[in-house]
């Protein structure tokens, strides 16, 4: 544990998801904006409590699907025009026959875009994160649900600490970034 690095966040540990959600509501009602949580599995109601609104993943999926479908269809049209095989007077641009590949590439484009956006918006992958240094941080535990007040420019450690202590958590932990050596 480095005690010298810049403060990243103050964590408060709770033992049940219900207490965590209540605590998130309480802290946000006191005006803290940079609130997040760390949980071992998705907790119902936490998104609403954090007022999380981010539709970039569905939007990326829609755009990826459209690009994939259009790309797939135009690829087939283009190659058929580039090297026309006129067989038995059948149409060169046979739309029904092109639909299978159009559909498959729509799915591929949609999924790749959605997952790429999920990773980018989450800033993953990364090898290390300050929260891994927090005492007792363990995603395999069922009784550790962390509320985090993230440090920003106007952050006051004592104010945040008092607000968290008032909620009666199991522990309050300072998370510091590792000093660059």
């Amino acid at each position: 544990m480095a005690d010298t690095g810049r403060l990243f966040a103050v964590l408060a540990a709770f033992d049940t998801p219900e207490r965590l959600v209540e605590a998130v509501r309480a802290v946000r009602a006191q005006g803290f904006a940079q609130v997040d949580a760390f949980t071992p599995f998705p907790v119902k109601g936490l998104e609403e409590a954090l007022a999380f609104r981010d539709n970039r993943v569905p939007a990326a999926m829609l755009i990826g699907g459209i690009v994939g479908a259009a790309g797939g269809f135009l690829m087939q049209v283009g190659t058929n025009l580039d090297y026309p095989l006129r067989i038995g007077g059948r149409p060169l641009i046979a739309v029904p026959a092109f639909m299978m590949i159009t559909f498959e590439l729509m799915v591929l484009g949609a999924v790749l875009a959605a997952l790429a956006m999920m990773f980018m918006a989450n800033r993953l992958p990364r090898l290390h994160h300050p929260v891994f240094d927090a005492d007792g941080f363990d995603l395999s535990a069922d009784d550790r649900f962390y509320l985090a007040i993230l440090a920003d420019d106007h952050f006051d450690r004592n104010e945040a600490g008092r607000a968290l202590a008032a909620l009666g958590p199991d522990a309050i932990i300072d998370v510091r970034e590792r000093p660059r050596s």
Binding site: F38, L46, A110, F119
Partner: protein, 433 residues
């Protein structure tokens, strides 16, 4: 609730402290020996060409394509059980989805190898992809064979990604649970720095559910497309509009059969009785029965349309009943649908051994069905000169056994090194419920 939480915790500890090393090594040795057979068969094939197989005109499609469809069909059940039941909010799927999806990956791997090996010059398989080339030609996009390339490739990529983003949170939990540094590094690299942040979970859920929602129609499209390899050809016994749904249901049936076998086996080997309960066996039995009876309906519909069409269609149908390949037709009926009827009773559904044996029977039956559909339609063409029976050779069988070895090797490595059950979803369900 606590029993399930403890069991979920145990799943995370399975790789570092594997409970059944001896059983695992016995299975793995068996799998490796079959894998050796696979490598030998492929080496022999590369040296001597597809002439080592029984494929010949008029039966040019023999084992490789029958096995390809069989493997791909098995794969579909993993996606269905995971994605469809996730969307329908069926929490019991959490005990099955992880290894069912792993089964999908490995079955699709085996499936994808077959058409490539079946090419006379497998090293030129990339000619199926459209790329700018000095020959100035493109793939024939009006051919089901080209659709196939895109369908299987998309399916392999999407099912791999779906499985992987599903396992990331468990890898993170296993990383934090592990004591030894080498396990921490192994799981930590796989977890990609996952830290369970609430905003990450929210985006993860969006991505996971949307991928699941699009994976279900993908499964239907992929296997419908496979059926068009047959249904789009002017061959009596193949050209039929009933094929796409009939193939999709048959695929789900054979896949649920293999999922049942793997469930019974893993439950016994790893002692997963708390997570994989009799309820799960019961549900699997119901799924197997339902998809099996739908497949039986497909048989009836196919029979009816052929008889109704008359002519060459009806001739092929009657030839399947009494011709030289009647064993594969009646074998498919016998293995697919006769033992299956026991599953109408709950008493038999919750007997693990019995469920395993019925799954095995359906797996064999569905293989016979693919063999029957291919060979009995091809061996007698319109011309007398195009008549010839198909006889599989040693190398046909050895490559088939070899792909089973490849599947088992990959699956056993998965069982040994990764969390086989979705622990975080089990915990979520236990805490919520």
């Amino acid at each position: 609730m606590n029993a399930r939480l403890n069991a979920a915790d145990r799943v995370l500890r399975l790789p570092p402290r594997f409970p059944a090393p001896r059983a695992w090594w016995i299975c793995f040795g068996f799998a490796l020996s079959l894998l050796g057979l696979f490598l030998a068969s492929v080496a022999w094939l590369f040296g001597h060409g597809p002439g080592i197989w029984g494929n010949n005109i008029p039966v040019g499609w023999g084992f490789p394509i029958a096995n390809y469809i069989w493997w791909l069909g098995i794969g579909h059940a993993g996606t269905l059980i995971s994605a469809m039941l996730l969307l329908m909010g069926q929490g019991w799927r959490n005990s099955l989805n992880r290894f069912a999806e792993a089964m999908t990956l490995f079955a699709v791997t085996c499936a994808g190898l077959y058409p490539i090996l079946h090419l006379g010059r497998p090293w030129l398989f990339y000619w199926m992809a459209p790329y700018f080339n000095t020959m100035n030609v493109w793939p024939q996009f009006k051919s089901p064979l080209t659709w196939d390339f895109f369908a299987v490739l998309t399916y392999l990529i999407v099912s791999t990604l779906f499985w992987y983003i599903g396992i990331i949170p468990d890898l993170a939990a296993a990383r934090d649970r592990a004591r030894k540094m080498r396990w921490k590094i192994f799981f930590g690299l796989g977890a990609l720095g996952w830290r369970g942040q609430a905003t990450h979970w929210a985006r993860w859920q969006q991505a996971y559910r949307l991928t699941a929602a699009i994976a279900v129609p993908l499964v239907v499209s992929v296997h419908s497309e496979i059926s068009l390899l047959f249904a789009a050809g002017p061959v009596p016994g193949w050209v039929s509009t009933v094929f796409p749904p009939y193939f999709v249901l048959g695929a789900a049936f054979s896949g649920f059969a293999v999922v049942s076998m793997l469930t019974v086996w893993l439950r016994w080997m790893l002692g997963l009785h708390t997570l994989v309960t009799l309820r799960h066996l019961n549900m699997l039995g119901c799924l197997l029965l339902a998809t099996g009876m739908m497949t039986a309906y497909g048989y009836a519909a196919e029979m009816f349309t052929a008889a109704y069409a008359g002519g060459k269609e009806a001739e092929t149908l009657f030839d399947r009943f009494v011709g030289p390949y009647a064993w594969s037709y009646w074998g498919a009926i016998l293995f697919n649908f006769v033992p299956l009827q026991l599953l109408w009773w709950r008493r038999w559904r919750v007997r693990p051994i019995l469920l395993f044996l019925i799954g095995l029977s359906a797996t064999i039956g569905m293989w016979m069905e693919r063999y029957m559909l291919l060979v009995s339609s091809l061996y007698r063409d319109w011309l007398e000169s195009s008549t010839g029976t198909f006889h599989p050779t040693f190398w046909d069988w050895s490559l088939f056994a070899g792909t089973i070895g490849l599947f088992l090797t990959l699956f056993l490595l998965f069982v040994r090194f990764l969390p086989v059950i979705s622990a975080f979803e089990v915990r979520e369900e236990a805490v919520d419920g």
